[in-house]
């Protein structure tokens, strides 16, 4: 109900503005391998193999009780190494011009408006891993002036087109979760072991977690989920029989900043 009402409002809003944004996103069916210049009218796509995993709306459940520092490090390493995220040292790292797709923080930072005053000591300092929420109603997509950030209607993943992004960083101001990073410099020299199967970025563009769209396309779960020792569960939020839905039916889970109406697809069991 709630969902369809919202969708209606959204569609109504769009049609008032005369925006064909939805149709534009749905029309992305070009099957190409890896990122091709979108200026040729194509969007980054990963060829869908026979084993491709599909869903109506991908989502994730993080069981924070199972997290510890070493698991968090493993997840971050897994993600950053396969996605060619640079690990710079020195000045740019100090000035917080770094890039991160997934990282551990504390409860009070992950949930700044849902503070729990007398949280047990271990719970307060236990790491909480944060990443892009792949919001169902993403403000970053709304703000982007070029549609370089877009929501894939097929499965709800909020994706980036590195070749179209003009680097205005409007999406970074719009994201209420700090999920996005900007390439303040050429990232390539700081990539230790380049993964040839994933595009590297150039300076001046924004990037973030892509829910491992390139792995889903070949039937693999996201890298962080595989590295999580069972702390992360991934699946289709619209399928009542999926692992994520079963977990959510069983355990009480919260989302980050639900009051902002972005409808995150990442849930946290605390």
């Amino acid at each position: 109900m709630e969902n369809s009402r919202r969708r209606f409002l959204k569609n109504a809003g769009f049609s008032i503005l005369g925006v064909g944004a939805g149709s534009m996103l749905i029309g992305l069916s070009a099957h190409t391998s890896k990122a091709v210049s979108p200026d040729a009218g194509q969007r980054p796509q990963f060829s869908m193999g026979d084993k491709a995993m599909e869903a109506e709306r991908w989502g994730m459940v993080v069981d924070t009780r199972k997290l510890n520092d070493s698991i968090c490090r493993k997840m971050q390493e897994a993600c950053h190494s396969i996605h060619n995220v640079p690990e710079p040292v020195g000045e740019s790292a100090q000035r917080d011009q770094i890039i991160k797709w997934i990282w551990p923080t504390e409860f009070q930072h992950a949930f700044p408006s849902q503070e729990v005053e007398f949280l047990a000591e271990d719970a307060a300092h236990r790491p909480v891993v944060v990443l892009c929420n792949h919001c169902d109603n993403p403000p970053c997509v709304r703000a982007c002036p070029t549609r370089a950030t877009f929501k894939r209607e097929r499965d709800g993943i909020v994706m980036m087109d590195f070749h179209r992004c003009i680097g205005c960083r409007f999406c970074m101001a719009a994201c209420p979760f700090g999920a996005r990073s900007f390439n303040f410099r050429d990232p390539r020299p700081d990539i230790e072991d380049e993964n040839p199967d994933f595009p590297t970025r150039m300076r001046g563009v924004v990037e973030k977690c892509n829910f491992c769209a390139e792995r889903l396309a070949v039937g693999k779960k996201p890298a962080c989920v595989e590295a999580s020792d069972g702390a992360l569960t991934f699946g289709d939020l619209n399928d009542p029989d999926s692992d994520v839905r079963k977990l959510l039916a069983e355990k009480y889970a919260i989302r980050r900043k639900p009051n902002l109406g972005t409808f995150p697809s990442v849930f946290y069991i605390v």
Partner: protein, 385 residues
């Protein structure tokens, strides 16, 4: 008419040369930024907009303030402004030009700027900002130039100019409104998430812009035979007084809402700006200076004797201009990013290259302004002579 800009005194050419040097320095550092990336600025993952976008915001206000001359003159037939309306319009032209340059120097991939046009996205406020800014630039060049040309030839301006002038009035309001909408529609940025942001932007614009016009009128009078007239300057001074008061009032409304509701997302930013947060307070002295300047200016502006005395009026205008520049050009943008959405603090201080590029852009604006004003004063002197 442009030939008027080609003949000038030694002072005129020295000034232009000085600006050219600043432009060259700025351009040199811009090339470095282009080559290296925005890493040479003080911006970071948490404070993703800095000095450039703040100057842009401030200058949109200066551009919009031309309407404070256009509206009384054309809608209320307030003849006193007749002489200086074109001064306001040309100030708008150079300000919008600087706004556009500031957007461009802030882009990570400026070569792809045209993507905004290739993939028009009406749900992005930046798309609308592009439209209103370009439209406003076009309107003011067209109107200012044609009206001046007609004045020179001793004829009435062409008929089709009139509707454009009327359009330019709401258009001026729109440029600053859309600029406020860039910020105030973003969820999770409590500092900007306020319906009063656009009205506040307009109030501060109508204070800082006319204050700058008064100062320009003084400068022009000093170097040329063109005098805006005491009456026009005094009317502008009253506009500055009202707008500065309105701006302070709006600001205090903001402070009340934050301080009385005590909602952390709203208080944190003001706290950071005015008292410092968790030991970080780079902007605290600046913000209090801004408040002190604005209050001092208000006192000077509401005492009739002080307002009518051109020396104290000059001081008041400098105070208003600098005070609002600090508020919008320093505090408004980075203040919205500190603390970040995870309630962590990364402070922002512009770097030397960033400041030099900024000065370069201002120099471009002043160069255009000087040339345009040279034409205006040339024409007016010719008519008087």
């Amino acid at each position: 008419m442009l030939e008027k800009a080609l003949r000038g005194s030694k002072k005129y050419w020295t000034w232009l040369l000085a600006l050219a040097v600043l432009i060259a320095i700025g351009f040199f550092f811009y090339l470095r930024q282009l080559y290296f990336g925005l890493g040479i600025t003080g911006m970071s993952r948490d404070v993703t907009w800095g000095f450039y976008i703040a100057q842009f915001t401030f200058l949109v206000g200066v551009a919009a303030s031309a309407v404070m001359l256009v509206l009384p003159y054309y809608l209320h037939d307030y003849k006193t402004f007749g002489k200086i309306t074109v001064i306001g319009e040309f100030l708008a032209v150079s300000s919008v030009l600087m706004c556009m340059l500031f957007i461009i120097v802030d882009l990570g991939q400026p070569m792809r700027l045209l993507n905004v046009i290739f993939y028009p996205t009406p749900n992005s406020m930046l798309f609308w900002d592009m439209i209103v800014l370009n439209g406003y630039l076009f309107l003011n060049i067209l109107i200012g130039w044609n009206v001046l040309d007609a004045e020179r030839n001793g004829v009435a301006p062409e008929k089709w100019i009139k509707p454009l002038i009327y359009i330019s009035i709401p258009w001026a309001i729109s440029i600053h409104t859309v600029t406020a909408f860039l910020y105030c529609g973003l969820p999770g940025r409590g500092f900007w998430l306020t319906a009063i942001l656009a009205p506040r932007f307009l109030a501060s614009a109508f204070a800082a812009g006319p204050a700058f016009l008064i100062l320009l009128a003084f400068i022009i009078r000093k170097f040329t035979n063109f005098d805006a007239g005491t009456k026009a300057i005094q009317t502008l001074a009253k506009i500055v007084a009202y707008a500065t008061l309105a701006n302070l009032f709006f600001f205090l409304c903001e402070v009340f809402v934050a301080a009385y509701s005590q909602i952390p997302e709203h208080t944190a930013h003001l706290e950071y700006l005015f008292f410092g947060l968790h030991g970080h307070g780079a902007l605290v002295p600046w913000m209090w200076t801004s408040i002190a300047l604005v209050v001092a200016a208000i006192i000077l502006l509401i005492i009739p004797q002080a307002r009518q005395n051109e020396t104290t009026l000059g001081f008041a205008c400098v105070f208003v201009f600098v005070g609002i520049w600090i508020d919008k050009g320093l505090g408004m943008i980075s203040g919205g990013f500190i603390p970040n959405p995870l309630h962590e603090i990364t402070e922002y201080v512009p770097t030397v290259p960033e400041v030099l590029i900024t000065i370069g852009v201002y120099a471009v604006g002043f160069l255009v302004l000087t040339v345009l004003y040279k034409v205006v004063t040339g024409v007016k002197e010719e008519l008087a002579g």
